[in-house]
Symmetry: C2
């Protein structure tokens, strides 16, 4: 299964996959510096998912894929110790997250993801098993959706830096931006919020109360296809909740030049987040409003009757004010800055 003989010969090298998904402790393999670029690529590429749209895969100057309709494209960076921690996330978790948050970006246009380009820069001292586990995580996240990794680049660096570009197609439909919501429309989310924030809090506190929310922080599980569903139900604005409901709703409000009135009691709070908050004696609503990284869809529909089953209406657009209000109040700023302290 592993193309590199040096790896296949190593006793127990086959066991690391089973161990890695629940714990970051990996069976010792060669480092990527010891293994070398060619051998690493030879072991890495066969583990990657294959795109249904692939016409020519990795190995030439470029890959070739079929596109039905227009091309939809987005990119995200994940940097070690900033977007993930090696003591919290297994390499499979990091691969999963890198893929899933990008798939959500395509779904958030009402389009269909087809392929990823993945670049990975990492220290030569990194265990090669980490890189292979990362590939497995990419595959686990992508394969159910017919999405493949069609190309990329590997390089040495001082820290792990991952960049994923996701490609998708519109199938002739119109992409749904953040800019076309009108006043008097229904604002809804496709899933419960606050789970990732609850998971993050538990890892920060080193106190495990609810494994599901920890798992959802490490591996976000939005329903890919919810965005397309919103588009087919006539959504006028659409995005995924990556930076928190309030901040992201604010982006739709600004882009569409409407106000958004959110009813706090209607915001669906993840059950596990509620459990953790109860245990800690805090209000879980703040996690649902500001937590981010759940990656469920946030959409505006022309009227409540247009909201698909399984979605939850959390408020309405208005021309009575600008920005976002919760139960009539303008919330304190909840943003953060990716370069700030």
């Amino acid at each position: 299964m592993l193309a590199h003989p040096g790896v296949a010969r190593e006793p127990g090298a086959g066991e690391w996959r089973a161990a890695a998904s629940s714990t970051p402790t990996l069976v010792r393999m060669a480092t990527i510096g010891e293994m070398g670029e060619d051998a690493l690529i030879a072991a890495f590429v066969p583990r990657l998912p294959v795109s249904d749209a692939e016409l020519l895969g990795p190995g030439d100057d470029a890959a070739v894929i079929a596109v039905d309709g227009d091309l939809v494209v987005s990119s995200d960076v994940l940097i070690q110790d900033r977007h993930f921690r090696l003591d919290w996330s297994s390499p499979e978790d990091v691969g999963w997250r890198a893929a899933m948050q990008n798939l959500a970006d395509i779904d958030a246009m009402g389009a269909v993801p087809t392929a990823l380009q993945v670049t990975l820069a990492a220290p030569p001292s990194l265990d090669a098993s980490w890189v292979l586990g990362f590939a497995d995580g990419l595959r686990e996240a992508c394969e159910p959706h017919g999405v493949g990794v069609v190309g990329g680049d590997l390089s040495a660096a001082r820290e792990i830096a991952i960049s994923v570009t996701v490609l998708g197609e519109t199938h002739g439909t119109q992409p749904i931006t953040r800019a076309d919501a009108l006043p008097g429309q229904a604002v809804a989310v496709s899933g419960p919020l606050g789970a990732a924030a609850a998971g993050y809090r538990q890892l920060m506190d080193a106190r495990r109360i609810d494994e599901e929310t920890i798992g959802l922080f490490l591996r976000p599980r939005p329903r890919i296809g919810a965005g397309l569903e919103a588009a087919l139900h006539g959504a006028t604005a659409l995005m995924d909740v990556s930076d928190g409901l309030l901040r992201d709703a604010g982006r739709i409000a600004r882009a569409s030049d409407v106000g958004i009135a959110i009813t706090g009691a209607d915001v669906p709070v993840h059950e596990g987040a509620r459990r953790v908050a109860d245990e800690l004696g805090i209000d879980p609503l703040s996690w649902a409003l500001t937590g981010g990284e759940d990656h469920h869809m946030l959409a505006v529909f022309p009227r409540e009757a247009a909201v698909p089953a399984g979605w939850t209406v959390v408020g309405a657009t208005t021309d009575a004010f600008a920005g976002v209000r919760v139960d009539g109040e303008a919330p304190a700023d909840v943003g953060w800055d990716h370069f700030g302290g």
Copy 2:
């Protein structure tokens, strides 16, 4: 012109562009940490080139571009102190290189580049002018080709890590891979080789003999469109010379299962490289054979008569041996490893 008031107010902030292209010494601006993500993006995005194929540009969950034919896609990583040095390259040089080596990858399929996704991770202490100069370099390289930056991501990191994904389209033609060369065909290159290697040597030695080759090392200038030209002339295999003629010809030989016989005297050596080599008392042919980073096209044509004007025939494919030989001799291995010491 700069969207961030804090920058526009800074005395002399407008001067840095003129200074930066010839020297890495920049007028002091805010650091990207001081400036903050939103202000940095507001200043960065307007400097980026706009793609002729762009339907929806940066700012939403994803960009949307039109694709005529199939999509061709490739990615490259550039890491500080590994792929560029801040004391050698201006930020414009780094932007130019990041764009150009990716444009060459699309041309090397006989396809037409249309758009880039660019992710940049950098230390918060980095001067914001570096990031804006980087955008200017991207623009200078892309604009003549109608290529734009349609999206990307910015992040903090310990070192500068750039990842570029380039998108192109086939216009219904068949992409040219490395795999379809047949024995008895003509091997040709689209431009003179060895310039980048000569420039690198001068910078390493801190001895400036020929400014043109130093400039070509910092800003490779392949003729984008040479690959498409090769495709239209019936090329059976095509790639760009990024890792040296011998190593790259070896890739075509392996992929196509042919041998490649190169005639050393026919390899076009860049005039400036010849001048530098003369001054240093060494043979410039080794730079032309193994130097890399010139990014001119290497193609196999069905017969010499099919080779376009301006290209130089450097050898022929054969079924008499495998791999690459120069004047009948198998060269010593000239490869290197991106993870090795």
